[in-house]
Amino acid sequence: MSLSNLIQNWNSFRTRRPYEGQYDDAPYKWAMVIDLDACIGCNACTVACYAENNLPVVGKERFGKGQAMHWIRIERYWGEGDAMTSEFPDHGAQYLPMLCQQCEAAPCEPVCPVGATHHSPDGLNTQVYNRCVGSRYCSANCPYKVRYFNWWNYPDRAWPNPLELQLNPDVTVRSKGVMEKCTFCMQRLRAGMDKAKTEGRILADGEVLTACAQACPTSAITFGNLADKKSKVARMWKNQQVDLAKDSQEKSEEGIRGYRILEELNTYPSIVYLERVRNLEA
């Protein structure tokens, strides 16, 4: 059963690619822009994610084994090559908020033997906890390393009473043996989309934000609906000349900052990063 799933998934992955106009008729396609020139690396987004998504605190020992559960993390680099080019980081550090890129051709999806991760109609990589059997293939296949596995049964220990009273009832508390990842705060999206549906409309731009985007003190994270051409995120994608369905972007001129990380792997991520700007003359 799982083998046939794998083969079937892989076949559809090989043949199906995001195509131009894929989301033209869809009400929603969630996407993000992260401005690395505005990001100051302050960790407000990461803590917001812990608060919103019931992420367990794993403690020093497990953190040291690479078992941290931060769905969004700030990576800090000292250089673009493979060594320092000068004695000091003359132009500061390079901060990178890294979270699930919600790839349109997600490498994690086809390798799931049980179909626990799949692509949602609004363009997200979903993770269905009760379906997950913990093979961890998805994590192995993720080039961004943004999937996190529950090596321990955190409900037993991560929230000593009364810390568990803070848990968000809209988000499952994951138990041992399942994979988890950034969901673009789909509990917020779902509540918003349901409300909008009842009112016979689609969500307005900015009506629902992910926890990280809402907290970010410099508003470095723009979140929105790419299917809505008037949304800020769609205008930014267009302005930055990034096309969801292309695996390499042609820019009309120099100095346009938008790019997608590891785009060359044909993952078609839903997050556009804007290059960090530095006055190198300073």
Partner: protein
């Protein structure tokens, strides 16, 4: 989903009955069940309370003194998450990580739940009845205490908590309110006051074309980080401003600089005068500059300055040239400038650049005059604690009340506050958590958390007019035996001065009365109740005031060249302030412990940062356990190789090393406060926190450094964080 018209306290009464009793879904329930879980009915809720839908209430963040307006999402009687309050001019709807962790302070498993009284076997739980008896006996109407016999030691405190505290002391004919801040900026404030006539001017960051920051971590641990970060975002939009940061150890702000310079600790003032010297070569700048300034800078030519500071003479010229080309600019100084024996002069020399550059009135203004000076925050200093310590050691203090500060943990070992406390017959701590100082007290009172209590806050930094921020409970109290700080004080006051306070059943009514009385100042024509409800709903009351102008004076400066490093203590020691841990009071919050410190990505630990070149010369590898020895004491910590540090400097983060602050803080890391040498600023008497020098000794032991970064800290040619030169960016065309 904001609070509609209601009496907040009725709402809480309702929640108290049904909300707090509501059972919570257990974790990991995975089948369809019948008759297992309970589902509680509300008894008599407000109409807008709908199960499953969160309601947002405005309040004020009490995690630091910035006074950010926040909103708490409340569902089924529980506060689940904090967001920024868009009504607040300070937070503007944004919130930092430290602020978010406020919910963990509230739900923390190690909160103190009952009063504790020191008996023979140490502190043991007692009832509130007993606690009140003790309080009345010691501090009640028959107390013989007078004047300085009683001392109230606090951290920064503002709003009506401050008013009530001072009224309380007044009944003892005392003004002995001592404010201590382990990370005091008193030296910098004094320097700013001496030159500009304002302790904390407004910085119009977004208007600056160039910011020259000497060690001010305004994005991380400065005076109002969320507000500054919001301004910084505007500053980086077209036409993009440039940030130059000069400091011995790279702070979060330094990590965002266009150009970062490592400087020898303590030489910042000399560099500033060197830059001034270069600037004043330009006639445009020197015109109208008083002769005394010209005289002051004339000996600080580039080469001389370069020798002392370690900043190349080309760099000095380049910095001056950029200041020359980019006006208006903004020059600010931070803790690494102030923390020296001549920190005042250092900071003043830096501020002098603003005067020369004509930044006053452009990027720097005075804060609006405050309509309620009695509500402004008391700002702490080190020497206030030292004075108190002296009095205590001399046996002059008969009663000590401690609130919002932990000097036993943060005072250096040459100020043995814990020992001095044993000379005080009666010591009371107002805490939410048992900390090191409370452990030395006779009576420890469990406070409500910031999310359970009423209060008002006034921030030190008021960007626009003055905002009086309101704090209100976001849920019913978790522990029946905890009490509000205001309520406890009021109860004593009612006994000491019934004619003035008997009318107030609780702190809430005191607060409401006081706020309503202030209504005319806010020029609101609403009824009293409306005014109050609006204030609670918005989380603040705003007073529109105009920025004031700044003066320009030149105080006498002494800027000797710092002594050379010796073979005994061959390293400068820089304690760094983590934006999340601050002085260490937040170490009990697991989210913050697990949040990688941004520059190093280390978690749950203390470490010592060394420049890779220095480490190589000493054959030190990451994880080697080093003994860091100062003239005062020593600590052991793992080495972390860090390129963002001046090579003769080592740095350790403050905040860890608690012996008593709950399970998440106790035993994590070491406490570098304890090795700071007794060196003080010559003008203000403040502890010179950056003036200690240390020796490193290898212990031969090694442990893995637990951190988030991977084996490489480079991108290896992949396009992860791409950098674009500012002259190529087309920011003005962007959305």
């Amino acid at each position: 989903m904001t609070m509609s018209n209601l009496d907040r306290r009725d709402f809480l009464k309702v929640l108290g009955i049904s909300g707090a009793a509501a059972t919570l879904a257990g974790c990991g329930h995975t089948s369809i069940e019948s008759g297992v879980e309970e589902v509680m009915s509300y008894v008599h809720p407000q109409d807008f309370v709908v199960p499953g839908i969160g309601v947002f209430y405005a309040s004020t963040c009490a995690q630091c003194g910035s006074g950010c307006g926040i909103m708490g999402k409340v569902r089924e009687g529980r506060v689940l998450k904090l967001e920024g309050n868009p009504e607040s001019g300070i937070s503007g709807g944004k919130i930092c990580g430290l602020g978010q962790a406020g919910v963990q302070a509230h739900y923390n498993p190690d909160r103190l739940r009952t009063p504790m009284y020191k008996g023979e076997g140490g502190l043991t739980p007692v009832s509130w009845e007993t606690a009140h008896q003790i309080l009345e006996q010691r501090l009640g109407p028959n107390s013989p205490l007078k004047g300085e016999q009683i001392a109230f030691l606090t951290g920064g405190v503002s709003g009506h908590q401050r008013v009530l505290l001072e009224n309380f002391l007044e009944t003892f004919d005392s003004t002995h309110h001592v404010t201590y801040d382990a990370l005091s900026t008193a030296t910098g404030r004094a320097a700013s006051k001496a030159i500009l006539g304002a302790e904390q001017p407004l910085w119009n960051i977004h208007k600056a074309r160039l910011i020259l920051s000497f060690g001010n971590d305004f994005l991380g641990s400065g005076v109002s980080p969320v507000y500054m970060a919001r301004q910084y975002a505007l500053f980086r939009k077209a036409p993009r401003g440039t940030l130059i940061q000069i400091e011995p150890r790279m702070t979060l702000t330094g990590g965002n600089a266009d150009r970062w310079y490592p400087i020898k600790p303590g030489t910042e003032g000399i560099l500033a005068l060197g830059i001034a010297h270069d600037l004043l070569q330009h006639e445009e700048f020197s015109r109208g500059v008083p002769q005394e300034i010209l005289d002051l800078v004339k000996n600080y030519d580039r080469d001389a300055v370069s020798d002392i500071t370690g900043i190349g003479s080309d760099a000095v010229r380049l910095i001056a040239a950029q200041l020359w080309n980019n006006t208006p600019s903004l020059v600010i100084a931070g803790p690494s400038v102030e923390g020296h024996p001549y920190g005042f002069s250092n900071a003043a020399a830096v501020q002098l650049l603003n005067v020369i550059l004509g930044n006053r009135g452009q990027t720097m203004e005075g804060q609006a005059e405050h309509p309620f000076p009695q509500l402004t925050p008391t700002l702490g200093s080190y020497h206030a604690l030292a004075d108190l310590n002296q009095k205590m050691a001399a046996g002059k203090t008969q009663a000590l009340l401690v609130y919002g500060t932990n000097p036993v943990f943060t005072a250096p070992s040459h100020l043995p506050f814990g020992e001095s406390m044993s000379n005080v017959p009666f010591k009371v701590a107002f805490v939410t958590h048992m900390d090191e100082t409370a452990g030395h007290c006779d009576l420890v009172l469990p406070l409500l958390s910031a999310l359970e209590d009423f209060g008002t806050h006034v921030a030190e930094y008021q960007p626009d007019g003055v905002e009086v921020m309101l704090q209100q409970p976001l849920m019913e109290k978790l522990y029946p035996e905890s009490k509000g700080y205001g309520d406890i004080l009021l109860e004593i006051l009612k006994k000491r001065k019934p004619e003035a306070y008997a009318a107030f059943p609780d702190y809430y009514s005191y607060l409401k009365t006081a706020m309503v009385k202030a209504k005319p100042v806010f020029k609101v024509s609403d009824s009293d109740d409306h005014f109050w409800e609006d204030a609670l709903r918005n989380g603040l009351v705003k007073w529109n005031g105009k920025p004031t102008s700044l003066e320009a004076k030149l105080p006498a400066l002494t800027l000797p060249k710092p002594a050379e490093l010796t073979t005994d203590y061959p390293f400068y020691f820089v304690p760094s302030i983590r934006p999340d841990m601050r002085d260490g009071r937040h170490a009990y919050l697991p989210w913050l412990q697990e949040s990688p410190e941004t520059m190093t990505t280390v978690v749950w630990d203390s470490w010592v940062e060394i420049h890779p070149k220095t480490a190589e010369a000493m054959q030190i590898k990451e994880g080697d356990i080093l003994q860091i020895q100062s003239a005062t004491g020593s600590v052991r910590a793992k080495a972390y190789l860090f390129p963002g540090i001046q090579p003769d400097t080592v740095s350790m983060p403050l905040g860890q090393g608690h012996t008593q602050l709950g399970r998440f803080a106790t035993g994590v890391g070491v406490n570098p406060y304890k090795i700071l040498d007794p060196i003080f600023d010559d003008r203000t008497g403040e502890l010179a926190m950056h003036a200690t020098r240390v020796a490193l000794r290898k212990t031969g032991e090694h442990q893995v450094v637990v951190k988030d970064e991977g084996p490489t800290t480079f991108q290896n040619g992949q396009k992860l964080v791409a950098t674009l030169s500012a002259d190529q960016a087309k920011l003005s065309k962007e959305i």
